[in-house]
């Protein structure tokens, strides 16, 4: 009997213990995450924080933090990658394969920006000025991200297909992760991108009227219009109706930004700081504790410290910056950006001088150049005088010309250079000199129908004559194999 009591006591104890544990929640805690299904975006602050997530992802090294700029620069007319640390050599040599990280990582990162941005756009939240501003930015971000995908992976450069070539999947949903994707044409991409831009700019314009303009580390109406100008210029190669859009958006950007061309005296120093430059329209913020370290642009341009894979080609620099113009000695402040590294190779030492430099995505000079190019290409709303003005605004702040000593042995003072006539050749040179190392080179070459040739391309036996000209199948990146393995979308011609 006593034993039975004990048995019951024990059974009761075990039973109680068990139930007390059963009552314990089996929910896991993770201090550093939040469940988006249980608590979706419900306030303006959460919306802003989520939008910040998109900017943070844009600033990653696989996107604007380094790669998309380095991809362009390593296929430029003046720079290539020596592959010294195994970085970007396959870009300069056009040996990139669908299995390579460069193809896969940037693709993935851009779509991650898009996905996170779609979450912002889809947020079910009461509309206010700020909400409209953030959602407007999200639409513009989505357009920029898809444009960046098209310029890398779209086949518009290949075989004269232009807008009829294969573009990239245009994603507008956060939740539908199993959406059946395919590659629409570049024309369809263009349509979607412009639609998002217009929608976003409209919302932002309405919002700015109410709550005022934000900082340049996020999109503003000015930089949104700037992107529209940049993107329209890209498409104008295949659709001349875009030229008018370039002119119109450039003007909107220039007039609404309120900034001006940076002065000659400040040009070199402006790049040394890591804050927002005065002539900027849009920068991606970096800081001492939030930067890309060894994966920064600084580290790829500089050597010791730095990987320093990207170097300038001597001949190209010499021909880009002639010492004399006629008999006048040229002093171009933009040449000061270039110097010899400790390995005595010519390098970009002046832009991205520290790993904490903000990523300078857009500045007023580019937008002015966009206006000039569209006008030169025949935009119906372009004004030749204004275009010449813009060009001279910039050049006069960069270049001085000094005539030789006159007959009396007197050295005339150096004078700012001024163009009297607008020619496409002059424009191209000035644009290259101004924007070098900032990620415009390859797209400019392709838009102008040029070619890429460098020591890496020369030894690539798969290329014709060791170079890639506009129209070449290697002008487009491969669609990543990891993408094709899942969604079975079509590969670009060079990689089939």
């Amino acid at each position: 009997m006593k034993n039975i009591v004990k048995v019951f006591l024990l059974a009761g104890f075990v039973g109680l213990a068990s139930t007390s544990f059963t009552a314990c929640s089996l929910d896991s805690v993770d201090s550093n995450t939040k469940d988006n299904e249980k608590s979706p975006i419900s306030s303006e602050k959460e919306l802003k924080s989520s939008l910040n997530g998109s900017y943070a992802r844009m600033a990653a090294e696989t996107y604007y933090g380094r790669d998309i700029i380095a991809f362009s620069e390593s296929r430029s007319s003046y720079m290539y990658s020596t592959d010294g640390s195994g970085r970007f050599g396959s870009i300069s040599g056009f040996t990139i394969l669908p299995t390579h990280a460069y193809s896969a990582d940037t693709w993935e990162q851009i779509y991650k920006v898009i996905s996170n941005t779609n979450r912002v756009i889809e947020a079910n939240i009461e509309e206010s000025g700020a909400v409209k501003y953030y959602k407007g930015q999200a639409y513009v971000l989505r357009a920029i991200a898809h444009y960046d995908l098209v310029r890398l992976y779209g086949e518009q450069y290949v075989g004269g297909f232009g807008l009829n070539a294969l573009g990239v999947p245009y994603k507008t949903s956060f939740l539908d992760i199993d959406e059946k994707v395919s590659r629409p044409t570049v024309r369809e991409n263009q349509k979607s991108i412009l639609a998002d831009l217009e929608k976003g700019i409209k919302m932002m314009t309405e919002a700015e009227a109410v709550i005022g303009r934000g900082e340049n580390i996020r999109l503003t109406v000015a930089s949104a219009n700037g992107f529209k100008s940049r993107i329209a210029l890209f498409f104008s190669k295949y659709d001349t109706s875009m030229l008018d859009v370039v002119v119109e958006s450039s003007l909107k950007a220039i007039t609404s930004t309120g900034t001006t061309v940076i002065a000659r005296g400040s040009f070199v120093d402006a790049y040394k700081g890591d804050g927002i430059m005065s002539n900027s329209l849009f920068e991606l913020a970096q800081s001492g504790v939030d930067n890309l370290g060894v994966n920064s642009l600084f580290n790829i341009y500089n050597v010791k410290p730095g990987y320093g894979d990207l170097v300038c080609m001597n001949d190209a620099i010499v021909s880009l910056f002639p010492e004399f113009e006629g008999d006048k000695k040229v002093d171009d402040v933009r040449l000061y950006i270039i110097g010899k590294g400790v390995d005595s190779a010519l390098r970009n030492l002046g832009k991205y001088t520290v790993r904490t430099s903000n990523v300078r995505v857009m500045r007023i000079e580019e937008i002015m150049f966009n206006y000039v190019e569209a006008t030169l290409k025949g935009a119906s709303n372009g004004d030749n005088g204004q275009a010449l003005n813009y060009l001279n605004n910039i050049v006069s702040q960069r270049v001085t010309l000094q005539a030789p000593k006159d007959a009396n042995g007197v050295q005339p003072s150096a004078l700012p250079k001024i163009y009297d006539v607008l020619t496409f050749e002059d424009y191209k040179k000035e644009r290259i000199r101004e924007l070098m190392f900032e990620g415009f080179a390859y797209e400019d070459i392709m838009r102008w129908g040029g070619e890429v040739v460098n020591p890496k391309s020369k030894v690539n036996r798969l290329l014709t004559n060791g170079k890639v000209v506009f129209g070449d199948k290697y002008a487009a990146f491969p669609i990543p194999q990891v993408e094709i393995n899942v969604s079975k979308i079509e590969q670009n011609q060079a990689y089939k």
């Binding site: 048995v7 075990v14 213990a17 068990s18 544990f21 059963t22 314990c24 089996l26 929910d27 896991s28 805690v29 993770d30 201090s31 995450t33 988006n36 959460e46 802003k48 989520s50 910040n52 997530g53 900017y55 600033a59 592959d83 010294g84 640390s85 040599g93 040996t95 394969l97 779509y111 991650k112 898009i114 996905s115 996170n116 999947p169 994603k171 956060f174 992760i177 199993d178 959406e179 059946k180 913020a285 800081s287 001492g288 939030d290 730095g306 990987y307 320093g308 005595s344 020591p455 020369k458 030894v459 690539n460 036996r461 194999q481 990891v482 993408e483 393995n485 899942v486 060079a494 089939k496």
Partner: protein, 1015 residues
């Protein structure tokens, strides 16, 4: 088994003869322990006061009458009882209490059973075997000794984790490592290092091999079902030593040894060879354009059209072309290992005690690595009264591990820099200081390892405590609480002068990982008989386990010269912290039924909930049914004298797997920062997630013949996994790379054979030979249908599809070099060759990274006090991939100029007609040669002399005369010899379970001298 039969016969004879010859007789015999006569053994007739003791030579003589039951007892030994029959001589052998000598096997939740009472598939490795294995992690002793257990080395650095696969891979993306259970406490497995960049640290590295009594590998459903939910990958039960009744017994063990790489690996180019290839590359590219030949290539090279006199090669030649062997420079040859441990144990009828203290030091074979461990193990058992008893156990250790960044291609990884740094770059400057101007931005590993710190300092306390209460004679309640606290401090310092810290003015970080894991088990065990023949043993149990992990990290930059702590940093402070937890709750019922020791049935039912799954999918139910038929116990086997044991056993049941990260099912936002403002980023999509389940079937036959000279077993198993936990790849356009889900069916099947034969058995000379073999055939049975077709998951190197092996190698097939053009070629779908890599066909290769066959051969010879043990392990039917070939075998500037390449490059194509596998060299281009293809896939098949030990046991008399109980001297070698089938493979064939040859330290070979004294 034979014993039971004898009992029955003896009982029968006794009954018959009782009335006829109820007379006294003198029974004689010798009592031995392990073949050595045992003096002072008490021999008593049960239920009387009569008895005697064995004399000095272990012999006894006692007047008995048939039917008397004799009890032979000796302190610290297990009692042996003997029912007197007709025999005039009885020679019992006593065995040490607690040491089960292979006869008793420890199973789940402390059940220990005799071999013939088991229905599951288990293999036990004894503590003395483990103690003789000179490695840091005790799990390494299992390799080659357990059929169906495959082990892969992630790194040869001391203390690094091992990959263990029991019967292949049962899961796709969830953890495939077995569950470790130490004294009843399920351990959290894996890497306990403070970071993921450096050398890993195994979660069981804190346990000293001397403290282990047995390691039991549970393989099938019947054996693992008690751990059901988490036993899907098999279970390894570790039992630590307890004290033995008797006077205090001390043991001292010291060993010293040295170690090196087991295989040297490929040779790298010398400076001259590299120069020759680089000049040829330039000639191939620029010879025609610039008008030079190979003969005057050097003039061109140092000239204005070439690279000029300041080029690294030009300078190297100008300085005398001295060859710098970096691969040699990063080695710490003949790295010293030393261990010392001192233990004591003893006890009386009230309880026992065991204490052991150990210090181990292992120098790494690569500069910058070493491992030091101080550990103490304490176990105490105590009877409080007739009904209550307690067991208290603790294992406390401190590990100090200096690691290197070997988990990837880090510039500061000496394994990497030894291969990558150009032989043109001096190691030291002329003044004897380190050369810090290393080409291609690499770091001088000598400087970096001398001046930087990556150090794990891990304190761990594992304690297992049990309170037992005998409610009735046959009803026992047990409550066990297991506490496991881990405090891992990880310190990083990178000097400001050279290497990773240079850009930051030096940087430092400190990480504290705290992990507390507790388990509470309550069980009731009830044993009863129905009639004489029906024996039941039942058990119900509840178990709750909770794991809490906290980490805190601080880092800073810019350090004052000579200061190395994060506390001294001047700028850019950053901190991070995190907390995660998980919990498990399980209920278990066990029923063992035994009919007359002939028929056995085991039933297990477990219900378990895990916090790692979606709310309504948390609970899973698992069961197992096991049965055995001891044929040799049957009456009809009486006359078959040569068979000592014959039994059939089998089981079927389900197990599970929940080894995934917490909250994998949830749609998560992670924190980020932008412009010093908060940011939220969607990082995980989540989705419904529940248990992965395996259905395991296992049938086997076990036998012992010719007085148990030949023993062995054959087993066939089949394991089907369904609802696999799988990180399903998504279209990257979704913004996510994968989504965890339950999908697909996977099947593993195979046979396992274990055989042991005592070739010679005698007093002075014994020789036995044994072997085991396990095969695994892996097949992805079904994949979910997507767009009307079964899903095929493809990677750059591997693919998973229906009917294929899980993660089967899937590559383009290399077709050699085109003799005309010198370009690499691959096969296209139609069988023709192409130099266009993209156009070549990607093919499944019917092999994966896991061997289809593994096994081991052991032999033991002893003569007088000398003995020799050898273990060969082998693996076949798998392939390994040279992941870094695009750096070490590139035919362009990467290997020929920036870094260094292997001597295989000397075989390059030079002129039309050359037949070779290495294409023409060039300054750029040719990158596709090292793109994924079968060119870099090697057969891993190998046989390895895993361990050989030669030892001597001092004769007991001599030992006694020295005042000692036993003295043992031995010398062992681990991995001294390796044979690899694929002659192209220069790397070590044992790589981690992914099959990629990585930049980690390869397996080691070691030679160790050991002295073992008991007093």
């Amino acid at each position: 088994m034979k014993l039971n039969y004898k009992w029955i016969v003896a009982a029968g004879i006794m009954l018959l003869s009782q009335n006829i010859s109820a007379q006294q007789k003198a029974l004689k015999g010798v009592v031995t322990e392990g073949g050595v006569p045992l003096p002072g053994v008490t021999v008593a007739i049960q239920g009387s006061n009569e008895g005697t003791q064995t004399n000095l030579d272990g012999s006894y003589s006692l007047n008995v009458k048939p039917g008397d039951v004799l009890v032979f007892s000796f302190i610290g030994m297990k009692d042996v009882t003997y029912k007197v029959g007709d025999a005039m001589v009885y020679n019992p052998s006593l065995s040490v209490e607690g040491s089960q000598l292979g006869e008793v096997v420890v199973l789940a939740y402390g059940q220990s059973k005799a071999r013939n009472e088991i229905t599951g598939n288990v293999v036990t490795v004894q503590g003395d075997v483990i103690g003789k294995t000179p490695t840091v992690s005790v799990d390494q002793a299992l390799q080659g000794r357990v059929a169906g257990l495959q082990m892969a080395t992630t790194s040869g650095s001391p203390g690094a984790t091992q990959n263990i696969r029991i019967r292949g891979r049962n899961s796709l993306s969830a953890n495939n490592e077995p569950l470790f259970v130490v004294d009843g406490i399920p351990l959290t497995s894996g890497n306990i290092s403070g970071n993921d960049v450096g050398t890993s640290l195994s979660s069981i590295s804190g346990i000293n091999s001397e403290d282990i009594e047995t390691m039991t590998v549970l393989k099938d459903a019947a054996a693992t079902a008690a751990y059901g939910a988490r036993g899907g990958n098999g279970v390894i039960v570790i039992t630590t030593k307890k004290g033995k009744r008797g006077e205090p017994s001390y043991s001292l063990k010291t060993s010293i040894g040295f170690q090196n790489f087991a295989r040297k690996g490929p040779k790298f180019l010398t400076g001259e060879q590299k120069k020759e290839l680089w000049l040829e590359a330039n000639f191939n590219d620029y010879g025609a354009e610039d008008g030079f030949t190979m003969d005057n290539a050097w003039e061109w090279y140092i000239g204005p059209k070439g690279y000029g006199p300041n080029n690294i090669l030009s300078k190297w030649v100008a300085n005398g072309s001295q060859n710098y062997d970096w691969r040699n420079a990063v080695l710490n040859k003949d790295a010293i290992t030393s261990t010392v441990s001192l233990g004591v144990n003893g006890g009386d009828e009230k309880g026992t005690y065991y204490a052991n203290f150990a210090h181990e030091k292992f120098d790494g074979v690569v500069i910058g690595t070493d491992f030091r461990k101080v550990s103490g193990a304490f176990n105490m058992t105590r009877k409080l009264n007739d009904r209550l008893d307690v067991k208290i156990g603790a294992n406390v250790s401190n590990i100090l591990q200096n690691g290197i960044n070997e988990a990837g291609a880090y510039f500061s990884n000496p394994n990497l820099s030894g291969m990558f740094i150009s032989p043109w770059a001096p190691i030291y400057n002329e003044d004897g200081s380190y050369n810090l101007d290393i080409p291609a931005n690499l770091h001088n590993p000598l400087h970096v390892t001398a001046n930087n710190i990556s150090r794990n300092d891990v304190i761990r306390v594992m304690s297992s405590n049990t309170l037992g209460y005998k409610v009735l004679d046959n009803l026992r309640f047990e409550s066990t609480i297991g506490l496991d606290y881990l405090l891992a401090n990880y310190k990083v310092y990178r000097n400001p002068d050279h290497g990773d810290g240079e850009a930051y003015g030096g940087n430092a970080s400190e990480t504290d990982r705290k992990r507390f894991n507790y388990v509470w088990q309550n069980s009731l065990n009830y044993k009863f008989y129905i009639g004489d023949d029906h024996k039941f043993d039942t058990r119900v149990l509840m178990e709750y386990q909770k794991n809490k992990a906290n980490n805190l990290m601080g880092s800073g930059e810019v350090l004052p010269p000579g200061m190395i702590s994060v506390g001294a940093s001047a700028a850019n402070y950053q901190a991070s912290a995190g907390y995660t937890d998980w919990a498990n709750l399980g209920f278990l019922g066990l029923l063992n039924y035994n009919y007359n020791d002939r028929y056995l049935v085991d039933l297990t039912l477990r219900r378990e909930g895990s916090s790692r799954f979606s709310e309504n999918k948390r609970w899973g139910t698992f069961f197992a049914v096991g049965g055995a038929w001891n044929i040799s116990s049957e009456a009809f086997m009486e006359d078959v004298k040569f068979i000592n044991l014959l039994r059939l056993r089998g089981s079927v049941g389900t197990t599970g797997n929940s080894e995934i990260a917490s909250n994998t099912y949830a749609q998560l936002l992670s924190p980020g920062s932008y412009n010093q403002e908060s940011a939220m980023i969607s990082t995980q999509f989540g989705g419904l997630l529940g248990w992965e389940k395996q259905t395991k079937t296992d049938i086997g036959i076990e036998f012992g013949m010719f007085d148990n000279r030949l023993t062995g077993s054959f087993t066939y198993f089949i394991s089907k996994s369904k609802d696999l936990l799988y990180a399903r790849p998504l279209s990257r356009t979704s913004g996510f790379s994968s989504q965890w889900t339950n999908l697909g069916d996977l099947k593993n099947s195979g046979i396992e054979i274990e055989l042991n034969y005592d070739v010679i058995r005698s007093e002075d000379f014994n020789w036995s030979i044994g072997g085991n073999l396990g095969t695994v055939k892996n097949e992805m049975v079904t994949m979910p249908i997507v767009d009307g077709k079964p899903l095929e998951v493809l990677g750059s190197f591997k693919g998973t599809a229906e009917g294929k092996i899980l993660e089967e190698w899937r590559l383009k097939e290399y077709a050699g070099v085109d003799p005309q053009t010198g370009l690499a070629q691959w096969y296209m779908a139609d069988g023709t060759k192409t130099s266009n890599y993209n156009a070549a066909e990607t093919r499944y290769l019917n092999k994966s990274a896991l061997p289809k066959l593994t096994g081991g051969i052991t032999t033991h010879i002893d003569y007088k006090g000398f003995y020799l043990d050898a273990l060969f392990s082998f693996a076949a039917g798998y392939s390994v991939y040279d992941y870094w070939s695009s750096y070490t075998n590139s035919i362009n500037n990467r290997s020929l100029y920036n870094y260094n390449g292997t001597t295989e490059l000397l075989e390059r194509w030079q002129k039309p007609g050359d037949i070779t596998d290495v294409p023409m060299v060039s300054t750029g281009g040719g990158a596709t040669y090292t793109s994924p293809s079968t060119r870099w896939l090697y057969d891993g098949d190998h046989i390895r002399l895993k361990q050989i030990t030669l030892g001597y046991n001092l004769r007991p008399k001599v030992a006694k005369s020295l005042g000692l109980d036993a003295v043992n001297l031995s010398v062992s070698a681990r991995n001294p010899l390796t044979w690899v089938k694929d002659s192209r493979l220069k790397w070590d064939p044992e790589v981690d379970a992914t099959g990629y040859i990585e930049m980690a330290t390869p397996p080691l070979k070691s030679f160790v001298f050991t002295l073992n004294v008991k007093f």
